[in-house]
């Protein structure tokens, strides 16, 4: 069964830059997997940040950038702010109408 792996946790200083990644248990992540990224803070519904690797969802600031870095999908936050402290999830499309979410990264801004 396919496993999608993310860093369990990450810490960034206010104003700093952090890159979260999304890897496959076997093989490389490419644009063919249509990587998307979601943000969820406690008590809130998930918010769609990024889709098709690097397209920002409406209202998402341009300090969020999506890319493929090596064999992984990546979400880079530039100029981190306190309200970026949240859980971040990637999702990959496996084909045949099946998606898999990564385990999520808990981002701390301090």
């Amino acid at each position: 069964q396919t496993v999608v792996t993310q860093e369990p946790s990450f810490s960034v200083s206010p104003g700093g830059t952090v890159t979260l990644t999304c890897a496959l248990s076997s093989g490389s992540v490419s644009t063919s997997y249509h990587p998307s990224w979601y943000q969820q803070t406690p008590g809130q519904i998930p918010r769609t940040l990024m889709y098709r690797t690097n397209v920002r969802s409406a209202g998402v600031p341009d300090r969020f950038t999506g890319s493929i870095l090596g064999n992984k999908a990546a979400l880079t936050i530039t100029g981190a702010q306190a309200d970026d402290e949240s859980d971040y999830y990637c999702a990959l499309y496996m084909g045949s109408g099946i998606w898999v979410f990564g385990g999520g990264t808990k981002l701390t801004v301090l």
Binding site: Q1, H34, S36, Y38, Q40, I45, P46, R47, T48, Y51, R52, V55, S57, D87, Y89, A91, Y93, S96, G97, I98, W99, V100, F101, G102, G103, G104
Partner: protein, 118 residues
Amino acid sequence: EVQLVQSGTEVKKPGDSLKISCQGSGDSFTNHWIAWVRRMPGKGLEWMGIIYLRDSDTRYSPSFQGQVTISADKSISSAYLQWNSLKASDSAMYYCATKTPGEYFQHWGQGTLVSVSS
């Protein structure tokens, strides 16, 4: 603008059956695929499965195949997630979300909290 409204909190006992709902509104809503996503306490998001409202074409994550049933009623723009015999481990928040042609989940329901305890 698409909006998804989910049914309310459920408190059940092990062995009970349950069907929760997700009703959508907005332009051409029956042309949407609706996914179900689980978030267990202290855990991450898990993709459970997806259904096409127009013809009820359904796909399941291997992890959830046989454990739940996803169904739909296009006449009322609703998707459902059903259990025949709940377990304590089914306690979680369940979200529905629309899938776009860009292969991502765009609009999210407010979530349905399911609590299963004896």
